[in-house]
């Protein structure tokens, strides 16, 4: 096993300064040149001269409190702190003199006089900066008599009033005040890196203490458990419980998080093959050393007892499962699929690729379907999330991808968030965004719900357009109306970069008075004056960047909304440079990659249409089989065809369509109608209740590959431990293809990437060697852009000229009425992820152990509902029960819930309405009624009972 060990994990003391003119100075006789504004501490570190320090770390602004990094500067009085003293030309610095040595030793002596000396049994033993510094300054004695202190539980007089017990309220880390040196690194990390402001230093002088909230526990405070404080702590005061339990790690493997589409880089720190902790990589270009509660802490599912490690088959879904060997499971699956095709035609089977698996695995599944099944019935979960992004951006810009990298947000002046809730769904991006907002950028939020970003510590949106669910197109077209009719558009950009005939047509369309904000106000619920002000701000406020999520796409007009967003960006010239752009926030870790890899039934890898003869010929010659030029079935079409009897077998890798897809009854009917459902997953998920074959999957910790995040960044996933189920997912697909007669041979995922690069123009330059060298790369990665492409459409759109498209608002067919007067919209919460299969099997469940219904107090009052009551949520499709939470985050007339828990089965109530272009389901608008209830509904009880029965496993017959 080859580990990728980071060559340099040194802490440079203060953050990097970019772009300043070079300044040359002398440190201990060595000449050093650094950008202006750099601290002496960092300049010395860059020269290879580490200056002792405690309160400084390169992820935080200099603070100057520990007085350990003192230096002498020729011609200046005293001994300034090198962390807060910037370099100057010609400066002569000494870092090690008799005076400095004496001073540092004195400082350390004071620190140690109020610190327990239990180093041998301390969890940070060997990984403690205080310990290191005591050694570095040559501390040999502590002359102070035992006296008042914070660390001794008892003193000679009785209990020590200054001692505080350990706070182990958080499941992932502990806070031990007795070991705190009050360096404020945790408080600053919470403010500067995460932007939650949950921590403070309470008291003064001798009474100073780190305090979560108003002297609360960590778990009880507003702490979001991102772990930035733990990472920043130089001692064992804040430390991971896993380190306490296991010991310090001795080995690092660089890999990529398998949760959301931010795609954070992590250092998996191990002892042997036991994962001790995950630490976000400072050099990770998506996350820059930060992470959230999921990525850093919620990986325990990999060893959860409910994980299935042996393949299983059964004849009927009412039978219990029977454990079998891999050989038997693969042979059985291959035989069943071929039997179905013989009886019902080549098109009677298909598959679903996983947005949680690697690019290489996804590529293999679509290759299996196109090359071995002999049809294009392949789809992926992007169908139900960002397929409208694919369609809408391809029509307007020419390719389906976000235009920027995440660093771009640092240069944005006006940020528009539409239908996304980054602090919950994309927390690390949200932390970076909040940092920029604190730095002065202004924010426009377009969302029916008052998401946290509307008002959060040191951040307040300039405008929150709280539109009625389903009216995105009307609102965005009204913004375009304001920009066009008030002459705020960027004519120069449009004339040089866009199709001017299309612009003229579009301008005429949006200028129509029926699109004026005053005309649409009654429909959208957005006050015209607010909308006008927001449109003016976006058009004239400097670099305008749009970030959007599933609140845009998951509508019957999802694709139209994406086009409306692209129109706005082109209108205002906010495309093609850092700080601007159109940025879809992708839901899952590799949903971008799954789309790139040809998971859609109409597209080969690299977004080439299946009817493109030249593109098909590339694969036909390589694979040695003909490829159908006809588009295949999309997920909802597969289910329809199954119910109609023409689609009878499916291979589902890493996706739980029964829980995540809309209209559960319809999904269940489709699955039940099939002859062979093969589920390849970590757990017996809800879909597996309808499966005939279960193939155990492997986690991201157990395989090599790549994930592509929302900024098109291809990141390496590296094997940290052997697959507990025996085979990585790509090996399972490979075996299935071989059992069905294909002559595939791959020894390692790097060989699959080589095939991808050889056949997909935008990946032409990608190789594992390149990724090892550069860390990551953003496609297109070609001969013209060998190091990838951070910003797209710089000199021209991929399609040539940008194309404006008319975006007429068409109301959804889902209407409220007397029986269903409220609108339900759905979303995510920070600690849970998607269907919750992973996060529910970690301590994250302690933050969110059930889905609740948010309802406005006015709507609750008229229905006799109190906070915490069981309520029945009914739509035209079905009814569920869950608990109510009264909140004015939702407007009257709107209710909101999450879909993380299978017991809730929120998709019983969602409809089968979908986006006109892509069939992306309309999750975000369902007409509902809410009424008091006593407990779970019949549908929920049926599902739960059916799931329990379907999960029975016979003891192995050995």
């Amino acid at each position: 096993m080859k580990d990728f060990v980071i060559p340099d994990r040194r802490d440079m003391g203060t953050p990097e300064v970019r772009g300043g003119p070079p300044v040359t100075l002398s440190i201990d006789g060595f000449s050093v040149t650094v950008p202006e504004g750099t601290s002496i501490l960092r300049a010395a570190a860059e020269a290879g001269i580490p200056i002792p320090k405690l309160c400084a770390t390169d992820s935080l602004a200099a603070f100057g409190s520990c007085r350990l990094c003192l230096v002498e500067v020729e011609g200046r009085a005293g001994t300034p702190a090198s962390c807060t003293t910037p370099v100057a030309p010609g400066m002569v610095v000494r870092t090690q003199t008799e005076r400095l040595k004496r001073l540092r030793r004195g400082v350390m002596e004071l620190y140690i006089s109020d610190h327990p000396l239990d180093c041998l049994t301390c969890a940070a033993n060997g990984d403690c900066e205080l310990q290191d510094m005591a050694g570095a300054v040559g501390l040999r004695e502590v002359r102070f008599e035992a006296g008042a202190n914070h660390f001794a539980r008892r003193t000679a007089e009785g209990p020590n009033p200054r001692w505080r017990p350990r706070d182990d309220s958080n499941p992932y880390f502990v806070y031990d005040p007795s070991k705190c040196i009050v360096c404020s690194r945790c408080v600053r990390a919470c403010e500067e890196v995460q932007g939650t402001f949950a921590l403070t230093i309470a008291g003064r002088g001798w009474d100073s203490r780190v305090s979560p909230g108003m002297d609360e526990t960590f778990f009880g405070s507003e702490c979001v458990s991102c772990g930035a404080c733990v990472q920043a702590c130089p001692t064992a005061t804040l430390i991971e419980t896993s380190v306490i339990a296991i010991g310090t790690p001795d080995r690092v493997v660089k890999t990529t998080c398998a949760y959301c589409g931010v795609g954070c880089s992590f250092d998996a720190e191990l002892r042997g093959d036991e994962l001790v902790r995950m630490v976000p990589s400072k050099e990770g270009k998506a996350n820059r050393g930060h992470s959230c509660v999921k990525g850093r802490f919620a990986w325990g599912y990999a060893t959860h007892r409910e994980r299935i490690l042996k393949p299983m088959i059964r004849a009927r879904i009412t039978d219990p499962w029977r454990e079998v060997s891999w050989d038997e499971a693969i042979a059985h699956t291959a035989r069943r699929f071929r039997e179905i095709q013989a009886a019902h035609g080549a098109g009677a089977i298909g598959g679903i690729t996983s947005s949680r698996c690697t690019n290489e695995e996804t590529y293999l599944v679509q290759k299996l379907i196109r090359g071995v099944f002999g049809n294009n019935n392949v789809d992926t979960c992007a169908r139900v999330c960002h397929s409208p992004t694919g369609y809408g951006l391809k029509q307007t810009f020419g390719t389906s991808a976000g235009t920027q990298d995440f660093d771009s947000v640092e240069q944005a002046d006006v940020v528009v968030i539409i239908g996304a809730n980054p602090t919950d769904g994309h927390p690390v991006f949200a932390a970076r965004l909040k940092k920029r907002l604190r730095g002065g950028a202004r924010l426009i939020v377009i969302d029916p719900r008052r998401i946290d970003l509307v008002r959060t510590p040191h951040v307040q949106a300039a405008h929150h357009l709280a539109l009625r669910p389903g009216t995105n197109v009307a609102v965005l077209t009204a913004m375009a109306h304001v920009i066009v009719t008030e002459g705020l558009f960027d004519e120069g950009f449009i004339r040089t970069r866009c199709d001017t005939a299309a612009f003229d047509d579009y301008a005429e369309f949006v200028a129509d008075p029926r699109h004026a904000p005053e005309a649409t106000e009654a429909l959208t619920g957005v006050p015209a004056a607010d909308l006008r002000a927001a449109a003016r701000l976006y058009a004239t406020g400097g670099n305008g960047a749009i970030y959007y999520g599933l609140g845009v796409t998951e509508h019957s007009q999802g694709s139209t909304t994406v086009m409306a967003i692209a129109n706005l960006a082109m209108l205002t010239g906010n495309i093609g440079r850092p700080g601007v752009g159109v940025n879809p926030l992708r839901g899952q870790n590799n949903v971008q990659g799954a789309c790139d890899m040809g998971s859609f039934p109409h597209e080969l890898p690299g977004y080439r249409h299946i009817s493109d003869d030249a593109a098909r010929a590339v694969y036909e010659s390589l694979w040695g089989v003909p490829i159908s030029p006809e588009p295949g079935l999309r997920i909802p079409n597969m289910l329809d065809a199954a119910a109609a009897g023409s689609f009878r077998g499916i291979y589902i890798q890493g996706e739980d369509i029964l829980q995540s897809d809309p209209d559960t009854a319809h999904v269940a009917a489709g699955l039940r109608a099939m002859d062979c459902v093969v589920v390849h997953d970590l757990f017996l998920n809800e879909t597996a209740s309808y499966a005939h074959v279960f193939l155990p999957g492997s986690t991201f910790l157990e395989k090599d590959g790549t994930f592509t995040n929302a900024e098109r960044r291809i990141n390496r996933v590296r094997r940290v431990m052997a697959p507990r189920n025996g085979l990585a997912d790509w090996e399972v697909t490979l075996r299935l293809a071989q059992a069905m007669g294909a002559d595939w041979s791959y020894a390692h995922p790097s060989e699959i990437m080589a095939e991808i690069a050889a056949t997909t123009p935008s990946f032409a330059g990608v190789s594992y060697e390149l990724l090892d060298r550069l860390g990551s790369v953003q496609w297109p990665c070609t001969a013209a852009a060998p190091a990838g492409t951070p910003v797209m459409h710089i000199d021209g759109f991929v399609r040539g000229k940008g194309r404006f498209i008319r975006t007429e608002y068409v109301p959804t067919d889902e209407r409220t009425g007397p029986r269903f007067p409220l609108l339900l919209t759905t979303g995510r919460i920070l600690t849970q992820y998607n269907v919750g299969a992973q996060t529910r099997r970690t301590e994250n469940r302690r933050w969110h152990d059930e889905d609740v219904l948010e309802i406005h107090p006015h709507d609750a009052e008229t229905r006799g509902i109190h906070d915490g009551d069981w309520v029945r949520l009914a739509s035209r499709k079905g009814a569920i029960s869950l608990r109510a939470r009264l909140t004015d985050r939702v407007a009257p007339g709107v209710v909101y819930t999450t879909f993380h828990h299978p017991g809730t089965a929120a998709n019983i109530v969602t409809t089968d309405y979908s986006d006109w272009a892509t069939n992306c389901p309309e999750y975000k608008v369902t007409a509902v009624q809410v009424s008091p209830s006593n407990g779970p509904t019949e549908s929920q009880r049926d599902l739960a009972g059916q799931a329990a029965a379907a999960r029975r496993i016979l003891p192995a017959a050995e």
Binding site: H602, G645, T918
Partner: protein, 77 residues
């Protein structure tokens, strides 16, 4: 697949293209369906009985002759 669903999906597509470029709506609808609909869905749309076909929007009806006929007969749906 239920005829109602086929009709609804086709009409939804027409609704967009009718407003986006009224002049070319039929061609756009046909192109979209040819690009994204699996053959058995196209076959079903083409084989709608006249009573059902009456529910199709004008742009869909105008697009029908422009649809690529499926290469082989679709399996019984």
């Amino acid at each position: 697949m239920s005829p109602d669903r086929i009709i609804r999906m086709a009409n939804q597509i027409a609704t967009f293209f009718e407003t986006a470029s009224p002049a070319e709506a039929a061609e756009d609808v046909a192109r979209h369906i040819n690009d994204f609909w699996e053959p058995r869905m196209r076959a079903q749309l083409l084989a709608l009985p006249p009573a059902s076909a009456a529910a199709l929007r004008p742009a869909v009806r105008a697009a029908l002759p422009l649809l690529r006929p499926p290469a082989r007969p679709a399996p019984a749906a």
